[in-house]
C-alpha cells in the first residue's frame, strides 16, 4: 500500500477543512492527490472504497462538508492502521522468558504487606498512597502561590508517611531549587529521610558548578550515604566550585581519614570554604584539626567559637581557660587603653566566652571563679553584661552534661564568687530536687538573681503523664551541614517541688522584669519570663496544697486587675469564685475596652466561668452602669455591647 500517498491525501483533506471548502477548487495539490488516488484505486479494496468516497470531492460542482468529513474519516481510519511506532523484532522468534522466575509461587495468601507499602525482592521500599493523599503535596511542590509551604510543613511536622511516596521524589528534587528558599530547605529535609536508592538519582544531573540547588543535593547525598560516598565528595571538591564545593567539603566530616585534608583546607581556604572545612572538623578534628582550631581560637576567637562546641575534652577546656587567663593578665585592669583598643579586646573576650558552653575542666572553672570576682575591672569590657553571658554559658554546660562532677563544680563556683547563680540553682535542682530550696533559696532575696532564676524555672515543668518534674532546654549549635539546629535536652528532677519555691515566685515583684543585655544573650531566648506562665508549668494538679495556694494567688491577681492571664489560670485550676474579676480587669486596664474586637475576647471569658446566666447578666449590667457613671472608662459602643450581651444571656432558653 502506498502509505506516502495516503498521508498526503490526509494532509490535503485536513487542509481543506482548515482553509474551507470554498478554496478547494483552487487547491491544485488536492486535485493532484485525488488524481493519483484514482489511478491507484486498484491497489486494494480499501483504496477502492476510499476512491468511491473521493468521487464526490472530484465533482466540478464542489462538495459538501459531510462528504469531506466522510472521506477524511475513512482516510484517517486507514492512516491509523498504518501508524508507525512499532519496531518489530529483528529476528522474529520464540518469545523470550525471564532467566529467573518471578519470586514465589502464586498463592491465595495476601502479599504480606499492605499494597501501599511493599518491598520488591531487593528490599527497596516503594511506598505509594492514594491520589487524594498525594495530589495536595504535588500541587504544593509544583505550583506557585501562597499556602503551599504550610501544606508541606504541616505534613513534615506531623511526620506524614505520604511524604515518602516515591512519586513525590521528582517534585521534591526539583523543589531543591524552589525560588522560595524555605521551601527548598524543607524539600532537602524531607529527602534526607529517603533510603540510599535515591543517591544515584541525585547524582545524576548534579552540576558541580551549580548553585544552592545543587549544593542541597550534595547535602542530601551526604546525609544519607555519609562516608560511603567519600570518593564522590573528593571529586566534587576537585571539579566543583562555590556552594557545591563547600557542601562537598562539609561532607568530608563523615570519614575520619579526611582530618588532615580538612585541617589543610581550614588553613588554606578563605571565606565560606574555610568555614565549611572548620564545620567538617567540628565533631572529630583529630590532632591536626585540633591544632588548627586552637590556632584559630587564639587568632580570632569569635570565628572559632561555634566550631569548638562539640569538643568536650579537658584539654580543650583547659586551653580556653588559659586563653581567658592570658586575657586577664594582659588586659586587666583596662586603664589607659583607647576606645578602639577596648572594643577590640572586648570582642576578643566575648569570642572566648562564646566558646564556653559544653566545656568543663577544673582549671577552666577555677579561671571562671577568678573572673567572677573581677566584675568591677571588667566594666570597660562589658562588665556585668559579660558575666551574665558567662553565667548562662555555665548553666548551659550543666544542662548539657549534668554529671556529678560538673554539678558540684557549678555549685561551688557560686560559693566562690557570688556569681553564676543560674548554674548553681540548676545544679541544686538536679542534685537534690527536694532539698534545693534550702541549698539556694536565699539567693532569691537578691534582686539581681530574679532574672536568672526566671531563666532556670522557665525550663522546669511538671509532666502530668509521667507525674514528675523535669527541666528541658533546647541548645542551639552548628550542625555538620552548616545549619544551626536545636538540641533538646531534658533532665528528670523529681516528684515533689518544694512549695517554698512557688511562694518565692509568687511573692517576687520583679519576676516579669526580664534579663538585661538581651542582644548578647541571643542563645537564651527573649529574656522575659511570665510569672503566671512559670507557675502554671510548675503546677502538679494532684498536689492539693499547691493548687489551693495557687488558686488563692490567681484570684488575688485577678481581683487586682493585673491581667486576664490570672483569670484564665484561676479557671483552669478549677476556681469557682469568679465574681468581680472581669469588672476589676476592665477598671484596671481601660485599653481592653477601647475596641469591640478586644472586648469580645474578654466577654468570651464569661463562657468559662462557673456562674449562672443570671449572675453573669447581673454583673454585666452592673458593669455597664459603672461605665456610664465613668467609674470604668469605656466608649458608648462598649456599653451597648455589654448590655446586649446581658440581654442575650437572659433570653437564652
Amino acid at each position: 500500500m502506498s502509505v506516502k500517498l495516503l498521508f498526503e491525501l490526509r494532509e490535503r483533506l485536513h487542509y481543506t477543512a482548515i482553509a474551507g471548502i470554498l478554496t478547494a477548487g483552487e487547491d491544485f495539490r488536492l486535485h493532484n492527490v485525488l488524481k493519483q488516488f484514482q489511478e491507484a484505486a486498484g491497489i486494494s479494496p480499501v483504496f477502492a472504497r476510499m476512491n468511491g468516497l473521493l468521487e464526490a470531492l472530484r465533482s466540478p460542482e464542489g462538495f459538501t462538508g459531510r462528504q469531506l468529513m466522510e472521506a477524511a474519516s475513512l482516510v484517517d481510519a486507514v492512516c491509523t492502521t498504518q501508524a508507525a511506532g512499532l519496531e518489530k523484532a529483528a529476528v522474529p522468534g520464540k518469545a523470550e522468558e525471564p532467566a529467573e522466575q518471578p519470586a514465589g509461587n502464586p498463592t491465595g495468601q495476601p502479599t504480606g504487606q499492605p499494597a501501599k507499602q511493599q518491598e520488591n525482592s531487593r528490599g527497596v521500599c516503594l511506598r505509594q498512597f492514594r491520589y487524594s493523599e498525594v495530589k495536595p503535596f504535588l500541587n504544593a511542590l509544583r505550583e506557585k502561590g501562597s499556602g503551599r509551604y504550610s501544606i508541606l510543613w504541616e505534613a513534615w511536622q506531623a511526620k506524614s508517611e505520604v511524604l515518602s511516596d516515591y512519586r513525590l521524589t521528582p517534585a521534591l528534587i526539583a523543589g531543591l531549587g524552589d525560588s522560595y528558599g524555605e521551601m527548598a530547605d524543607l524539600c532537602m529535609e524531607i529527602l534526607k529521610q529517603a533510603d540510599e536508592s535515591i543517591v544515584p538519582i541525585l547524582k545524576k544531573g548534579l552540576d558541580p558548578n551549580g548553585k544552592k540547588e545543587m549544593a542541597r543535593r550534595v547535602t542530601v547525598i551526604a546525609s544519607i550515604a555519609k562516608e560511603r560516598e567519600n570518593d564522590y565528595y573528593m571529586e566534587l571538591i576537585e571539579s566543583g566550585s562555590g556552594p557545591v564545593r563547600q557542601a562537598a567539603i562539609r561532607a568530608l566530616c563523615f570519614d575520619s581519614g579526611n582530618q588532615e585534608l580538612l585541617a589543610a583546607l581550614a588553613k588554606s581556604e578563605r571565606g565560606e570554604a574555610k568555614k565549611a572545612a572548620l564545620t567538617a572538623l567540628m565533631r572529630n578534628p583529630g590532632e591536626a584539626g585540633r591544632e588548627r582550631l586552637f590556632e584559630l581560637l587564639k587568632k580570632d576567637p569569635a570565628l572559632a567559637a561555634p566550631y569548638l562546641f562539640y569538643l568536650e575534652d579537658e584539654e580543650t577546656a583547659d586551653w580556653i581557660g588559659d586563653q581567658i587567663e592570658e586575657f586577664c593578665t594582659q588586659s586587666l585592669p583596662a586603664g589607659g587603653k583607647s576606645k578602639e583598643e577596648l572594643a577590640k579586646l572586648s570582642g576578643r573576650l566575648k569570642g572566648l566566652l562564646d566558646a564556653l558552653p559544653n566545656k568543663y575542666s577544673k582549671k577552666l572553672f577555677e579561671c571562671l571563679a577568678r573572673l567572677g570576682g573581677r566584675e568591677k575591672e571588667l566594666e570597660p569590657y562589658g562588665g556585668k553584661e559579660l558575666l551574665d553571658g558567662v553565667n548562662l554559658a555555665v548553666a548551659k554546660t550543666v544542662f548539657l552534661r549534668p554529671h556529678r562532677e560538673i554539678l558540684d563544680a557549678a555549685a561551688s563556683l557560686s560559693d566562690a564568687c557570688g556569681a553564676y547563680l543560674p548554674a548553681a540553682v540548676l545544679s541544686s535542682l538536679i542534685r537534690d530536687f527536694t532539698g534545693s530550696y534550702d541549698a539556694c533559696g536565699g539567693w532569691l532575696k537578691k534582686r539581681d538573681a530574679v532574672p536568672f532564676l526566671g531563666w532556670v524555672f522557665d525550663k522546669v515543668s511538671y509532666d502530668r503523664e509521667s507525674r514528675v518534674y523535669a527541666a528541658a532546654m533546647t541548645v542551639y549549635a552548628l550542625d555538620w551541614d552548616g545549619e544551626t539546629r536545636g538540641i533538646l535536652r531534658s533532665i528528670r528532677l523529681g516528684e515533689k517541688l518544694d512549695i517554698r519555691w512557688v511562694k518565692e515566685i509568687m511573692a517576687s515583684q520583679d519576676w516579669n522584669r526580664g534579663l538585661r543585655g538581651m542582644n548578647y544573650l541571643q542563645w537564651y531566648g527573649t529574656g522575659r519570663f511570665s510569672q503566671i506562665e512559670t507557675l502554671k508549668k510548675l503546677t502538679d494538679p494532684e498536689d492539693e496544697e499547691l493548687c489551693d495556694m495557687l488558686r488563692t494567688y490567681y484570684r488575688h491577681y485577678a481581683m487586682q486587675g493585673r491581667g486576664e492571664e490570672g483569670i484564665r489560670a484561676y479557671l483552669e485550676l478549677g476556681g469557682t469564685e469568679c465574681k468581680g474579676m472581669i469588672p476589676a480587669l476592665l477598671k484596671a486596664k481601660p485599653n481592653l475596652v477601647r475596641y469591640p474586637y478586644q472586648f469580645q475576647t474578654i466577654l468570651a471569658l464569661y463562657e468559662q466561668m462557673p456562674m449562672t446566666r443570671e449572675e453573669k447578666a447581673q454583673e454585666m449590667l452592673q458593669t455597664a452602669d459603672r461605665m456610664e457613671k465613668q467609674e470604668i472608662k469605656a466608649t458608648n459602643q462598649i456599653v451597648t455591647l455589654l448590655r446586649d450581651q446581658a440581654v442575650a444571656l437572659l433570653s437564652r432558653n
Partner: protein
Amino acid sequence: MITITEDRIGMLAPNAAAAANGKKISRSGGFVSLNRDREETVIWGECKGSGKSNYKTSVDFLNPDQPVFRCSCPSRQFPCKHALGLMYDYLAGKVFEEAEVEASIQEKRTKAQEKVKKQEEKAEKEKAGTAGRPKAGQAAAAKKMKKQIEGLGKVGQIVEDILAKGLAAMAGNPVKPYEELAKQLGDYYLPGPQILLRRLLIDIRELKQPGADEKALYEDAVSLLEKLSYLSDRAAAFLEKKLQSEDTAAEDTALYENLGHVWKLEQLRDLSLFKENARLLQLSFSSEYDEARAEYIDTGYVMDLDSKEIYCTKNYRPVKALKYVKEDDTVFEVIEVPVLYFYPGEGNRRVRFEEFTTRPVTRQDLADVLAGADPDLAHAVKAAKNMLKNVLSGRGIAACIAYSAITEDTDEKEGTIYHLIDRTGARIRLRDGGMLQNGGRAGEEGRLPVCAMLGYLRSSELLRYQALFGIFEYDAAAGSIHLIPCSIITPEQVVRLAY
C-alpha cells in the same frame, strides 16, 4: 460477618476530607460507646458532638455489599464523618460490646426490606411484561427522539457552515454564535454532540492565543468535526429508523452512547449488560478537569481478574456541585462486585457498580493480572489500532503488555527517552500523554510526568520482565502510535507511575 478495609472506607466516603475527619474521630476516641449485634451484622455507637447530646450512629451490614449508614448528626454528607469514624474504630480493632439491636435500627431494617421487596415485585412484573411500558413513557421517548433528530440536523448545518469557510476563518472570528448554538444543543437532548462542539470551541479559542500549537490544535479540531459529522449523519438515520419501527428503547451501541444518553442501571440490566460476581483490580487512577463538560472526571482503569478484560470506571463531578458529589480515589485492594454493569461501547468499556466489598490483594490476583498481559506487542498494537481507527473511539486504548525490558536512551532533541521491548523483541516508544483520557487536550494541571517516573523507581528489577499497564495513544500529527505507561505489575505489587 462485617468486612471493613481501609480501601473500602475510602471508597464509601464521599471525599478524602470526610475520610480524614472520620479517622480523626476514631483516633481521638470520639465514640463513647461501641456496640454490635451477636451475628455481627450491624455496629452502632454514640459519638461526642459539638452539641450537648451525643450523636447516635450506626452502620448496618445486613446486606454486606451495600451497608446502610444512619446518624443523628445534622450533616448532609453521606456517609457522615461519624459513620466513617465508627468503621475506622472497627477496623482499628476496638472493642464493640455485644448488645441487642436497637429498636430504631430494627424498625428501619424492616422498612428497608419491605421497600426492596416492593421493588423486586415491580421489577418482576415489568420483566414478565404484565405492567408493560407505560404508553405515556413511549410517547415521551418518541418525542425526545424527534427533538434529537431535529438537533442533529442543526449539528450537520453547523458542520457545513464551519467547513465552508474553514476552521482558520472560525479562529479569526468571534466564537460567541457557536457558543450559543452549543448551549442550544442541550434543548435537543444531545449532550454528546454538545460536548464535542464545546471542545471544538476550546481549540478555536486556544488557536487565537499567541504561541499556540497550531498543528496539534487543528488536528484535534478536524477530528472533532469528523465526529460531529458522523453523528449528525448516522445517528439521525439511526434514530429515524427506530422511530419508524416504533422502537424507542435504549440500545447497546456506541452511537447511542455518543449521543450522551444517561443510563440507568435498570436499562443496562434490561439489555443484559451486566455480569455477576466480578473481581476487579484497579491498575491506574486519574482525576482530570474537562473544560468542555465543566466537570471533574475520576477515571479508574480496572482489570477483570477472570476475563482479563480492562474496563474503566468513571465518576463525573460537575464543578457547580463539587461539594455534593462523591469523589473517587485510588483503590489498592481487589473489588468484589456482586453485579457489574457495562455501558455500551467498544474498547475499554465503562463499568459501574453499586454494591461491593474489598479485600487485600493476593499473589494469585497479581498472577491473574500477569496472565492477562499480552506478550506480543504487535498483537496488542494491532488490536489497539482497530479500536482507535473508529471515528467515535476514545483517545486511547488501555492494555497490559508483558515486557522483557524498559530501556532508557538519549535522544539529541528530546533528551532521555524510554522504550518498551516485549518478549519477542519488538519495541514501542513510551511517552507522556497528550490527550485527556476523556477527550480534550491535556493541561499541565495534575499530570504526573509518568515517563520520567521510570527513572525514579530506584530498582532496575522493575524494568525487566514485568508487565506494563498503559494506554496506546495515536498521534495523528506524527502518524505514529505510542504507549503511555501507567503502572508496572510485578508478582508482588502494582507500582503506579501515575496515581
